[in-house]
Amino acid sequence: MSLHPLRRDAMRERRRYRSRVIVGAGLAGAGLLVLFLRAGHLQIVEHEHYTTLSRENRIRVHTIAPARGLVRDRNGVVLARNFSVFSLEIVPEQTGGVDRTLALLHEILTIDEGEEEKFRRQVRQLPGFESIPLKTRLDEREVAVFSVNRHRLPGVDIHTRLVREYPFGEALAHVVGYVGRINADERSRLEGNPHYRATRHIGKTGVEHSWERTLHGYAGLEQVEVDARGRVVRTIDSTDPVPGAEVTLGLDVGLQLRAHAALSGQVGAIVAVDPRDGAVLALASVPSFDPNPLVHGIDRESYAKLVGARHRPMFNRALHGQYSPGSVAKIFLAFAGLDQSLDLALGRVWCGGSYRLPGTTYEYRDWKAGGHGRVGLERGLAESCDVYFYELAYKLGINRIHRYLTRFGLGQPTGVDLPREAPGLVPSREWKLATLGRPWMAGETIISGIGQGYVLSTPLQLASATATVAGRGVRLRPRAAIRIERNGVAEDLPAEDLPPVVASGEGYWTRVIEGMEGVVHAGAGTARRIGEGLTYRIAGKTGTAQVVHQETRTSPDDLESIPWERRDHALFAAFAPVDDPTIAVAVVVEHGGSGSRAAAPIARELIDHHLHGASGEPAPLIAAGAR
C-alpha cells in the first residue's frame, strides 16, 4: 500500500530533519566537550602556573574619584566647595573578623555609636571586598594613634577624601541642595558607570542633584602594585581624574541672604528672576536647614526629627509649595479680558461691595465693604476690586480662564533646572469631572477670578509669570545655572525661550502694567505704602489667599485676634523698573495676613537691594520707612 504523496514527502522531510538534528546535537556535544577540556587544561594541567600568577597578582587598578566642581553665584562667590578630611575605612573580608577589629579600634579611638551602627548596616549590605568608612573625621592626633597601631589592624586604612561644604548653610540649602552618601538604590542605577566607582557622594537635591553629571567629573585610573594583603606598595602608572565642571548660578548671593533674612521668624518663600534671561536671582524658602551635617549622613533619628520639625524646614516652598495665587491672578485675568476684547475689560463696572450671579441670591463679597464704585481695568487692578474680577471671570468662563492661566505657565512645571518641581493646578471642567467626579459649578468660575478655589501655583511659577508680564509676553524658562566652566573654559548657557503670550491688540500689555503700577503708585493702590519715596517705578500686585472659607473668616483688621494657622497667606508679585525691568519677584508669606502688609514690603526691600544695593548707592527709602 503506497502512502499519499504528501504524506510521503512529510515522512522524507522528517527523516532528513532527524538526521540533521543528530548532526547538530553532535556538534553541540563536541562544543561542550571542548569547553570542558579547555577548563580542565587551565584548572588541572596549568593549575600550578595560574595559582602562582594569582598569588603574585600584584597589579591592581584603582579608580580615583574626581574632585567635584564648585558652585558659584553670579559674582563668583563660592556656594559649595570641597575640603580634605581623613576617614578611617575597613575592608571587612581583609580584617579576619569585623568584631575583633572594632574591639581593637575602640581601645585606641572613640567611635560614635551612630557611626558604628551605620557601619555595621553597610557591612551587611555591601560585598565584603568594598572599603566601608567607619569614622569620617579624624583629627591629626587620631591619625597618629592609628598609624602606630596599624600593624595590628589588617584591612583598616586611612583615606583622604574631599568633603563637600556649604559656607552659606541654611540660606542656600533650597537652591544649592546638598550631596549625601550614595545609597543602595542610587548605586544600582550607577551600575556600570565606571566614573562613579570611587565616588561616595551624589547630589540629593537642588543644583547638586540637577547638575550632578556636570559637577561630578571623570574618574582617574591608577595601576598600583600591592602586597599579599592588598596594601599598595608602589604606583606603576596613573591617569589623572578630570575634575567636575564649575557651575555658576544666576543667583546673587547678597540678594539671596537678604531674602532669607527678610523671612526670618516667618514661614514662606521668595523667588526673584531676571525677566531678560530667566536667571533665578534669589530663591528662598523659610524655615530652612543646614545642609552640612547631611553630607556625612546623620543618624535616622536626627533625620526624622529634621523632616518632621515644625513648618518642615526640608520642604522647599519655592518649588514645591502650592498656594492659591489669590488676587495676584487678577493680572493674568485682566490680560485675558483685554485679549478677548471683552466689553467689560474695555469699559467699566459698578462695584457696590458684592456680586451676585444672574438668577441667584448668593452674594460674593468684595474685600472692601461698600465697594469701589465705578471701576475700570486699571483701577480694578490697582485697588484689587473683587467685584470687577467676579464679573470678568463670569464673562470669560472657566474654559478661557484655564487657557490663559496655562499660557502664563501656571498649572505645569516651569522646567527650571532644579529637581522635583511641583506642577500647581489650573482647574478645568474636564479636570474636575475626572478628579472629583462632579461637574463644574458656575460659582467656582467666579472665585477663580480672584485666584481662589482650586487654582494652585508655586512661588516660582508666580515669579516666572510676573516676568512674562514684565517682558510683555516674552517667556523664558527660569534657570538656576547660567554658566559652566570646564578646564578654565567658560561656556554661557543660553536662555531658553518658551512659547510667548502674544497680545491680540496694541496697548493691552501697557494697560495691564499701568494697572500694576497703580498698585504701588496710585493714591488708592493696595500697596501704596511701599511706593513712598521710590526713585524708580514698581509694577506689582498684592494677593491674599484665604486659608479658611470666607464665611468663617473674621475681618483682617484684627489680625492679632486670629490664631496664626487660620490667618490668610500674604502674596506679592512685582517687577521693576517698569520701563526696563531687570527683576521680577514673588513673595509668599504663609499666614502673613495680607499681601500689602506682610509681603509687599519684603519685595520692595529686595528690589531696592537689586537696583541700588549692588552699585553701592544707599537704598533711598528704607530710612524714611514704610511704617
Binding site: 579547555r38 577548563a39 594569582s54 573580608e93
Partner: protein, 362 residues
C-alpha cells in the same frame, strides 16, 4: 498512537528541561551574590520571577499563533532596531538601549527570538530549505537584523543570530552543496568585514591572536579571567573566596565574566556541573524539537536551542581564552535582566511546541 491524551496544566512543562533551567539560574544567583552581595541578588531574584512568569505564559500559547504572529513580531523588532539609532541611548560607545514605558530594553535581545521565529515560519511555509530561492529569502530575513545589530555595534549578538540562522537553514534541509557554496562565500568576505569593524573590535581580535602583547591593556581581561579559572583547580577556592574577583582584578565580573568567578570558586567540578546542565538543556531541547508534528514547531525549537548553545559556547570560549572577547552574557547565569528574561522566553516557546505536540497530530 496519535490519540490525544488529557494533560494537566503542569504536564505542559518538560520536567528535566525546567529543572536544568532552574538549576542554571540558581548557579547564577550564587554568582550574583558572590560578586555584588545582597543588592545584586535581590534584583536578580526579581528578574528570575519575571522570567519564569514569561516562560509559563509563552508555554501556553498555541504554536499556530507563533507562526501567525512571527512576521509582525519580526517587523516590529526590525523597526525597534532602526529606532535604536534614532532615539536610543548608548553605553560604552555603542547604541543598544531603547526606553519603553519606564524601563529600558535592548531590541537586539528580542531579535534573538524574533529572527528564528520568522525564518522558521518562512521555511515551514515554503516546505524546507531545499530550493535556492527559499534559501536566499531566508538569508535575507537573517541578514537584515544581523546587519542592523552589527552596526550598533554589537558584534557578539550579530554573530549569534547569523550562526543560529545558518544552523536553522542546515536543519531545515539545505543541501550540502549549497551549504559549501555559501560557506566559501562567507569565508571569502571575512577580509571585507575587517574594514567594517570599529577600532575597539579590531583591537580585540588582535588581542585575541596575541594576548601577551600588552597584558595591561586589551589582554588584561582575558589574562585575569584565565588566572581566575586556572587558580580554581579541581575543587575551587570555595564560594565567596575567589581572590581574583574579590580583589577587583576581574572586570565585568557579575555579567559577562561571571563564568570565571564560578570556575575560580567552584573549580572544575563546578564547571562540569554547569556544562552538564547546559548539555541537558540542549539535548532535551533538541529532543523536544523532534517531538513536534509541525515543521514550524520543529524548526523554531531547534533554532532557539541552537542559539542557546552558541551563547554558552561563545561566552565560555571567550572567558577561557578560546575566542575573542565579544561581550556576550552567559545565558541564565550572568547578572542582568534582558538576557535572563529573553532566554526564559525562548524556552517557554520551545515548551509550547512540546506541550502541543499530540494535540496537533489529529
Amino acid at each position: 498512537m496519535y490519540l490525544p491524551r488529557l494533560r494537566t496544566r503542569l504536564a505542559r512543562f518538560d520536567v528535566p528541561l525546567v529543572c536544568a533551567l532552574l538549576l542554571l539560574t540558581g548557579i547564577g544567583l550564587l554568582g550574583a551574590y558572590s560578586t555584588g552581595g545582597e543588592p545584586l541578588l535581590h534584583r536578580q531574584v526579581v528578574r528570575l520571577l519575571v522570567g519564569s512568569g514569561v516562560m509559563v505564559a509563552l508555554a501556553h500559547v498555541e504554536p499556530g499563533n507563533y507562526a501567525r504572529w512571527a512576521p509582525w513580531f519580526y517587523v516590529a523588532t526590525v523597526a525597534a532596531l532602526v529606532a535604536v539609532f534614532v532615539v536610543g541611548s548608548s553605553a560604552k560607545g555603542a547604541q543598544r538601549w531603547l526606553a519603553a514605558g519606564g524601563f529600558q530594553f535592548q531590541p537586539a535581545e528580542v531579535a534573538k527570538i524574533a529572527t528564528p521565529l520568522m525564518v522558521a515560519a518562512f521555511l515551514a511555509k515554503r516546505g524546507g530549505a531545499s530550493r535556492l530561492s527559499v534559501v536566499v529569502g531566508a538569508i535575507a530575513f537573517i541578514a537584515l537584523p544581523v546587519l542592523l545589530i552589527g552596526y550598533q555595534p554589537d558584534l557578539g549578538t550579530a554573530v549569534i543570530i547569523a550562526v543560529a540562522g545558518a544552523g536553522l537553514l542546515f536543519i531545515a534541509g539545505m543541501s550540502w552543496r549549497l551549504l559549501a557554496a555559501f560557506g566559501a562565500a562567507g569565508l571569502a568576505s571575512l577580509p571585507l568585514a575587517w574594514y567594517g569593524l570599529k577600532d575597539y573590535q579590531r583591537e580585540r581580535v588582535v588581542t585575541f591572536l596575541d594576548p601577551d602583547q600588552n597584558p595591561l591593556a586589551g589582554g588584561y581581561q582575558v589574562l585575569q579571567s584565565k588566572i581566575a579559572i586556572g587558580s580554581g583547580g579541581l575543587y575551587g577556592k570555595g564560594w565567596l573566596n575567589g581572590t581574583q574577583s574579590h580583589l577587583d582584578f576581574l572586570p565585568e565580573r557579575s555579567t559577562d565574566f561571571v563564568f570565571a568567578v564560578l570556575a575560580e570558586e567552584f573549580g572544575l567540578l563546578g564547571v562540569a556541573v554547569i556544562l552538564v546542565l547546559a548539555g541537558i538543556v540542549i539535548f532535551r531541547g533538541l529532543w523536544i524539537a523532534g517531538q513536534s508534528q509541525e515543521p514550524f514547531g520543529r524548526l523554531v525549537a531547534a533554532g532557539l536551542v541552537l542559539s542557546f548553545f552558541l551563547h554558552v559556547f561563545v561566552n565560555v570560549g571567550m572567558v577561557s581564552g578560546l575566542l575573542p572577547v565579544v561581550g556576550l552574557p552567559l545565558p541564565l547565569i550572568s547578572y542582568g535582566g534582558t538576557s535572563l528574561v529573553t532566554t526564559m522566553a525562548a524556552f517557554g516557546i520551545v515548551m509550547s511546541m512540546f506541550s502541543h505536540r499530540r494535540l496537533l497530530a489529529d
